[in-house]
């Protein structure tokens, strides 16, 4: 029941904003506080969900809600949470809340605050719903709900090239969704049910090999656009670069995870034979993504674009973990999801702060010496970069390391030599990742302050910026130092999903 309330609160919050502005919450400041309050309540509910979650049985679906919705097509309103989805639910609620907190003092310009608040709340409904849904069509509905608000956020509050970026984003992802829907329906028609739990328990039983292979490639392609997997990634740099800070944070922090979550929740358990066939190809594209993303980052000139391409590389590690079809690999993927959400969320907050202060994200125009001119901001940027390059002891490490470990010994049905090669290339990609982050730090934070910026006064981070950054820093440290926190949650359900018992 609590899950239903968790979804209802942001939805009701968004609907209430339909009331005329003159009577309900006049003024932008009131609307922003309202956004903080609604998302805060949602976060509390997510935390309560985590608190009442039975950590002894993380593989069991808990807090289930299962109502008939459209009995004619056996469509059910089925929600539930297990160890796979719980961390993502909390991450979503947290990042949305932090976005609202950040907007209190740093509202993006471009449209009415009322609309933005409503859109982000609807976005939250879609994101939370995606991670909670246990019915294929319901999953698809929530998956799609996310698109429109994000499109509007980019198109109205974005940077100079926002229109083109928004079009590209929505056309790309809609195309992906179309393929995804066909795949889901193919599964549903052949298996005779839309229930994800039942489908996962069958492990492909009732679906012929041909259907599984087709279904995996269709579902996989649809999800891969969202991840994004190389070479379907080109919407991402534009969307990230043009989106306002909150848009980038939610896009990188949560939206990308919906793709990989879909792989773990639907594609792998529902069509295991298809997964066996396609896994080497998935692994290949993942590894190309790692190296390609890193190389592209090395040559980027814009801060936000660089972080966007770094996502391609990081999600490459997540996909590589999935492609191994082993519990450790899928664990790695889920860990990498959370870590990337925390770290890249932080990075985009910081990129936004840099852009706000310097008026540009161009690395050459930023000059150097940020540690002199804005020491605290530079210190946070250093922390986030070091976390993102996968330093052990911080969150980013475990996902990458476990993905490589999974690739060293992939599932028995997969070609081992191929995956060991993937592992070696991926590990070298990790070195390149370190290279571009250190290059970024050296260019921006080190060195003398540029001549023309010597006298510029850069404002210190505001309280709402600290409030948005510090929780992410603490969680990055916590998850990095104590990975057991997440791995205890995910290991059992991952084994169940993969059919390992």
């Amino acid at each position: 029941m609590i899950l239903l309330v968790t979804l209802a609160v942001p939805l009701a919050g968004a609907l209430l904003l339909l009331l005329p502005g003159a009577r309900f919450l006049p003024g932008d400041a009131a609307v922003r506080r309202y956004g903080v309050a609604v998302s805060g309540v949602t976060l509390l509910l997510a935390l309560v969900t985590a608190a009442v979650f039975d950590h002894g049985e993380p593989h069991r679906m808990q807090q289930g809600v299962d109502w008939a919705w459209a009995p004619a097509i056996d469509l059910r309103f089925h929600l539930g949470v297990d160890g796979v989805s719980l961390p993502l639910v909390v991450l979503t609620a947290l990042l949305t809340f932090l976005c609202f907190v950040h907007m209190v003092r740093h509202p993006p310009s471009g449209g009415p605050a009322r609309l933005l608040t409503a859109l982000v709340l609807v976005l939250e409904v879609g994101m939370l719903g995606t991670f909670l849904a246990l019915d294929l069509l319901l999953f698809f509905v929530f998956f799609e709900v996310v698109l429109i608000p994000m499109y509007v956020v980019i198109a109205l509050w974005g940077g100079a090239g926002r229109r083109a970026a928004a079009y590209k984003f929505i056309l790309y992802t809609l195309l992906g969704s179309g393929v995804l829907l066909v795949g889901l329906l193919l599964v549903a028609v052949n298996a005779g049910t839309l229930d994800m739990v039942a489908l996962a328990e069958r492990h492909g039983g009732g679906l012929s090999r041909g259907v599984q292979i087709t279904a995996f490639v269709l579902i996989g392609l649809g999800l891969a656009v969202k991840v994004p997997m190389w070479p379907l990634h080109t919407w991402l740099p534009d969307a990230h670069t043009e989106a306002p800070t909150v848009g980038s944070v939610l896009l990188a922090g949560v939206l990308l995870k919906m793709g990989t979550y879909g792989f773990v929740r639907i594609a792998l358990p529902v069509a295991p034979e298809g997964a066996q066939v396609w896994a080497p190809w998935l692994g290949l594209l993942a590894v190309i993504g790692i190296v390609y993303g890193a190389l592209a980052c090395l040559a980027q000139r814009d801060l936000k674009r660089l972080i966007a391409y770094s996502s391609v590389g990081h999600m490459g590690f997540v996909l590589l973990g999935i492609a191994t079809l082993t519990p450790v690999g899928v664990n790695a993927a889920l860990f990498g999801n959370i870590a990337h959400g925390l770290i890249t969320g932080l990075l985009f907050f910081l990129a936004g702060a840099v852009k706000e202060r310097y008026g540009t994200g161009d690395l050459a125009a930023l000059g150097g010496g940020m540690l002199t001119s804005a020491p605290r901001l530079a210190a946070f940027l250093t922390f986030a970069s070091v976390a993102s390059l996968g330093l052990p002891g911080l969150a980013g490490f475990w996902g990458e390391m476990l993905a490589l470990l999974g690739a060293y010994r992939p599932d028995g049905g997969l070609p081992r030599e191929t995956f060991v090669t993937f592992m070696a290339v991926g590990a070298l990609g990790a070195v390149l990742t370190a290279a571009y982050f250190l290059r970024l730090l050296a260019r921006v934070t080190h060195g003398p302050v540029a001549e023309d910026r010597r006298d510029a006064v850069l404002p210190a981070p505001t309280s709402s910026e600290y409030a948005a950054w510090v929780p992410l820093v603490i969680l990055t440290l916590l998850v990095g130092l104590w990975p057991k926190l997440l791995l205890d949650l995910t290991t059992a359900p991952v084994r169940t999903l993969l059919g390992g018992g």
Binding site: L298, F383, V431
Partner: protein, 718 residues
């Protein structure tokens, strides 16, 4: 026991966090006053002028987990003295005026110096704990392990635990002692540095990471410490990041070691998956059952990480550049501890290497090239710190060579004595740099009288480096040479089984392990190592003599006020001179560490030759640099055989070119393809739109045509 060891690690770890968050606040609470006049930016003085960015921070200092510095950099960028400007290298970059004063005041202000207290006190407690651990292990040898918890991964669990044996206890104690000496020394050396607070916190974090490597009971836990050390090294090398050169050196150090670490991590995977566990004890126990190919692959991969961390050929070029960091950092990280971690890991996993001839051969070859090459490079360096850096590479290669010929306890013995005497040499060099205001040998001269403590300590250090009796280096170096002689004389049979007793006691390879399972070193390689060791003694003697003479004898070559360094700096130096001088006698307790006549005679002969040549050259004209006599060779040695240039051409530039290609391809290729589909679909849309004329007749005709086609199709297919 394990609890003590974990406390030893956790104390500096907590100190690191506390230092970063609370350092300046603690100073305020302790009642520090802004030091008069020149020291407005001194650590812990809260009243320093803040940069615009640091307008009254909205949160309390605790709220800001700042990575680099909790206090704002205050003073305008310090400018190096004109004559030192082009010198890459650390040193107190505060304005010359009042530096001495600040150094001396550091002692008196210690009570009020928050960051210093937060760093030094836990470190002192840790040292005591490490001492207790070492004494307990010494009295009751054996392996003690403890596991806090195990982390599920989906395959082999990670056991978060420690493993303390003689080797770990000994090295852990060495690390703590050097770290404590460096922390105390830094209080004075960095007294005027505005970022002292973050500097000292990173030293604490580094120490915790190194101790984690030393005490770790699980390979992946070890790897965590291994990498955290690397990042601390990165931050500390780049401590004076205002200069681009320092920043570049830091990046280079991190990336080169990380390249090796890729191999290291994969090596851990190979071992762990092969053995079915990541715990060190479990892995060592399963070595005999593992296929030869697996063990060899693992050992070779691990060696990549060892080469990176311990700065061995071909991944050695970062270490001389790393001298850009402040000198105490060079003493701690880039001489005594982190760079020794590679050698330590080989010793820790020694059975893995002993089971593979290929690995031992590669280790030996790596050692020979590094040893001789870097000793020759040290001969031609101008910068005192770079002399010591190349010397460190060379000495680490001695340890690696010792391990390659099976002289494990000798190698560890040398690791410990080297930790003492090289830390001493660096700290003393720091004092010299502090006083003379320059890193260049060519700027010193005649410091013997003004700096007696530094002079005598450094003399002991150089003697140990060369291996002159009776200081520590003599014993440890000769036991390695003796091990190599034994291996060479016996056609590559390794000299001794790792059954060391005394304080280097180490768990034997495994219960019931037959000695015949040990791999051989090819006889030729054993001879090569033996000869290289001896020749290097001569070269070492030569460069040590050159540095010693140019620093302390003759006439001063530039003007500076010659006086002894502040007390807080001379104490640690003098304290390190004690183990430098005496540590060697501990080796007499163990059979395999006692000096042998043949090796001693030969190496002393080589050392004498090296010393004599340099002395004769120098004595002709003490104002000149003896290395000038090398002629055209000087340039080659100074650039260390142009390895950097080769790497730039073969690796750095191709990667950069590739990166630009990818970035361009992404725009023009893939994205253009996607965008062009938009054009195509618009075209298609336009074509289709033309069909929708709104004319019912056209529609009907088309419909009929379609039906006809369908019917035809059905007929044909059926």
């Amino acid at each position: 026991m394990i609890v003590l060891a974990s406390l030893t690690i956790l104390l500096p770890f907590a100190a690191a966090f506390a230092g970063m968050l609370l350092g300046p606040w603690a100073s305020r609470r302790l009642g520090a006053r802004p030091l008069p006049a020149a020291s407005a930016g001194a650590p812990g003085s809260p009243g320093g002028p803040r940069t615009p960015d640091a307008q009254p921070p909205p949160g309390t200092p605790e709220e800001t987990p700042v990575e680099v510095s909790a206090e704002a950099p205050t003073t305008p960028l310090p400018v190096a003295r004109p004559e030192t400007a082009p010198v890459p290298g650390g040193g107190p970059r505060s304005a010359e005026l009042g530096r001495q004063v600040a150094g001396d005041m550091a002692l008196r202000g210690l009570r009020h110096n928050g960051p210093a207290l937060i760093a030094c006190l836990p470190m002192a407690v840790s040292t005591v704990l490490a001492l207790i651990v070492a004494v307990v292990v010494w009295r009751e040898p054996g392996v003690r392990t403890g596991v806090l918890t195990s982390i599920p991964t989906g395959t082999i669990d990670i056991a978060v635990g420690l493993r303390v044996d003689g080797l770990a206890a000994l090295v852990g104690l060495m690390v703590c002692c050097v770290a404590l000496a460096v922390q105390v020394y830094s209080v004075a050396y960095m007294a005027k540095d505005p970022r002292y607070s973050s500097y000292t916190a990173f030293i604490s974090l580094f120490t915790a990471a190194m101790l984690l490597v030393v005490y770790a009971g699980d390979l992946l836990v070890l790897y965590v410490g291994w990498e955290v050390m690397g990042v601390c090294s990165y931050f500390l090398i780049g401590h004076h990041w205002e200069e681009r050169a320092n920043s570049r050196a830091a990046v280079k150090a991190f990336l080169m070691t990380r390249i090796g670490d890729v191999g290291f991590l994969i090596g851990i995977f190979v071992l762990g998956i092969g053995a079915g566990t990541f715990s060190i004890g479990g892995v060592l126990a399963r070595i005999p059952e593992m296929p030869q190919a697996t063990v060899t692959a693992a050992a070779l991969l691990l060696l990549a990480g060892v080469a990176g961390k311990s700065a061995q050929f071909p991944l050695h070029t970062w270490l001389p550049d790393a001298m850009a960091g402040p000198t105490p950092i060079s003493a701690l990280i880039h001489a005594a501890t982190m760079v020794a971690a590679g050698v330590y890991v080989v010793a820790r996993l020694y059975p893995v290497f002993l089971s593979s001839s290929a690995a031992l051969t590669v280790l030996g070859a790596m050692a020979v090239v590094s040893m001789l090459g870097s000793a020759l490079a040290a001969l031609a360096q101008n910068d005192l710190k770079r002399v010591l850096a190349y010397s460190t590479i060379s000495q680490l290669a001695y340890m690696a060579a010792g391990l390659a010929v099976g002289a494990q306890s000798a190698a560890i013995f040398h690791l410990v004595t080297h930790g003492a005497f090289k830390a001493l040499l660096f700290l003393a060099a720091g004092s010299v740099i502090f006083v003379a205001g320059s890193n260049l040998l060519g700027h010193y001269g005649g410091l013997r009288r003004a700096m007696p403590v530094t002079f005598w300590s450094m003399t002991a250090g150089y003697a140990a480096l060369v291996g002159l009796p009776p200081v520590s280096g003599f014993f440890s170096k000769d036991s390695i040479i003796e091990g190599a002689r034994h291996a060479a004389a016996h056609g590559g049979m390794l000299s001794e089984q790792p059954q060391a007793r005394g304080f280097a006691a180490y768990e034997p390879v495994g219960p019931g392990e037959p000695a015949a399972a040990f791999a051989h070193l090819p006889a030729g390689m054993a001879w090569l190592i033996y000869i290289a060791l001896l020749v290097t003694v001569g070269v070492t003697a030569a460069y040590a003599m050159r540095a010693w003479l140019m620093t302390f004898f003759g006439e001063p070559r530039t003007t500076f006020e010659a006086r002894e360094a502040p007390t807080l700096m001379t104490w640690p130096v003098a304290a390190l001179a004690v183990p430098t001088a005496l540590l060697g006698f501990f080796g007499l307790g163990a059979e395999e560490l006692r000096p042998h006549l043949v090796s001693v005679g030969l190496s002393l002969l080589w050392a004498a030759a090296g010393v004599a040549v340099v002395y004769v050259l120098w004595n002709r004209d003490p104002a000149l640099d003896p290395a000038d006599r090398l002629g055209p060779l000087r340039k080659v040695l100074d650039r260390a055989f142009y390895v950097d240039e080769v790497y730039a051409a073969l690796v750095v530039r191709p990667v950069q070119a590739l990166a630009h290609m990818v970035a361009a391809a992404d725009r023009r290729g893939i994205d253009a393809a996607v965008v062009s589909t938009a054009g195509w679909s618009r075209l298609a849309g336009g074509t289709l739109r033309r069909l929708q004329t709104g004319n019912a007749q056209t529609y009907l005709t088309a419909l009929l045509a379609g039906v006809l086609l369908l019917v035809l199709g059905v007929v044909v297919l059926l």
